[in-house]
């Protein structure tokens, strides 16, 4: 049951991975336990640091919204995304159109090849 999965080119052993994970976790937790625990909870020492500004009460104001999460990736690939989002128009007949064009392309080429 706990065997190895042999692909043609190597193997994957889940139990070995889990063993290494526990060893690494042990070291991580040991390092974490070397920290100081003599701080006073609930006072200024426990606050988050927000570049020296006032931390707003509502969590709403300090979250990064999901739409700006990968803005750099999107801006770098802007020509690609403009084309890709241009295909996805959302018009019903375009959806059927791409399908019919694909089947027509396959039908023509299978008779030629």
């Amino acid at each position: 049951m706990w065997g190895k999965v042999y692909t043609g080119f190597g193997y994957w052993d889940a139990s070995a991975w889990i063993l290494f994970f526990f060893i690494a976790a042990f070291f991580t937790l040991w390092l974490r336990s070397q920290g100081r625990s003599d701080y006073k909870k609930g006072t200024e020492q426990d606050e988050i640091y927000w570049s020296g500004n006032e931390v707003p009460e509502d969590g709403e104001d300090i979250t990064v919204p999901a739409s700006s999460a990968y803005w750099g990736f999107r801006k770098a690939l802007e020509p690609f995304y403009r084309g890709l989002l241009g295909i996805h128009t959302g018009i019903a007949t375009d959806i059927v159109g791409y399908y019919v064009m694909t089947v027509a392309f396959l039908a023509v080429f299978i008779l030629l090849v």
Binding site: A14, W17, I95
Partner: protein, 521 residues
Amino acid sequence: MNWNDHLPALILIIPLFGAFIAPICSLGGKTARNFLLVVISFITLIVAFMLWRHVLANGISYYVMGGDKFNLSLPSGMALPVRIILEVDAFSAFMALCGAIVSFAGALFSVNYMNRFSGMGRFVSLYCLLTTGMLGMMVTGDIFNFFIFIEISSIASFGLIAFWRDKPTAIEASFKYALISQVGSMLILIAAGTLYGKYNMLNMAAIGSVLKMGTMEKLALVFLVGSLAMKCGSFPMHMWLPDAYAEAPTGVTCLLVAVSQASLYGLMRVCYSIYGAAMGSSFIPWMIIVFGLASMFFGVSMAVVQHDIKRLMGYHSVSQVGYMLLGLGVGLLVLDDARAMADYGFTAIKGGVFHIFNYTMYKALLFLTAGAIYYATGKRDLNEMGGLARRMPYTTFMFVIAAAAISGLPPFNGFVSKLLIYESSFAVHPFLAVVALVTSVLTLASFVKVFQTAFLGPEKNSLAKIQEVPAAMLIGMAVLTAAILGASLFPSWTLSTLVEPAARALVDQSGYIGAILGGGM
């Protein structure tokens, strides 16, 4: 009477019975109706499990509908099988098991999720009908019957996707799906009619035994491959899929995932068991590989920039279907080359089949967690969510497991099936493995975004009063989590017991044909 002989018919009749009894049961009140839904799904799951055990022990199991005996496929001296024959080999039984597990999880989830809506008698009836259609697609051995079950599941889906009639986007999604589904089904019917007109038979095994490639068979193959790839959601024809998956109620989306897998089953049955060795040129395998690559890459590129959680998961569905098409296409490519098959072809097929199981489990779980978020907060837009991990710990835990599985992180099951696909597709051409790896990285990126924005982060005042979802929904999600963890911790057992018989049955075209034509009296 031996129960095991009648299992293929029982697996279709039980959900169908549930579908017809549901309006009567809902006269008994909400509890009776919910009880019916859960009990019917559970009995279907048990029958699917027993059918799988029976097929593993006894080989291909077939059932002649309406015959004198259940296995009289060639009655009194006839050369062709004349009735509708259900043929269940290990691959069909495997897919029926996946579909039944997902249907049970979705049914448990819908018990609480839909308690704010009326007309639930019709929902239960349509849900059971969709289950029947999906299971029928997987067990039938007759190509016209396959078309009928595709239509049954499509029509039930149209009604279920548009179930919230007050939402304009749900009606729009259902209309687009209905339009493209109807055009696709007409092409499947033309293909079935062409094969009938040429060979005068509708049985898949019988057609497979006499098929010779000619112009009409090539056109039939193209229509079947194109339409079934459309119903799975592969690249140029995938645009209905994120809309339909996002707008349907979540239990239904969970089941629609399995219905798309049934179409993938149909595609593989056509390519491996009907055409199989007669396929001739490698045009269709390469086209399936190209569809797979395009779906993988373009699906995940669209998913990274979405901000609606269910639409994002719908685009990930498109991308994961690409993995399965890639694995199974590589296997199809080297089907007649025995040495390449032993080298990397059979590994590719095993990877593709294992990925079907993994994908069905983790994708259904992801949709259920998105549905749980919607139930608790009322929002589907990631821009408005945040800090949910404090209040919904169980949902967060299950989401992390599903997200790690879909991204292909070890030690989860997604990693194992993707490893098999990477290594075997690398042997065909390195570019295939490169695209698969880039897609995996982008999938991880997208789910890190979802996890961070929905679950981590500071707590918002607008979401201060949410609670964890009710128990029935958590149990539904736990069923799928248990399946994922089982496949992750025991990968070699899962591969040898669940996947390898299915992959072997898929490759064995002569066994599939011989069970019907050599059997009977």
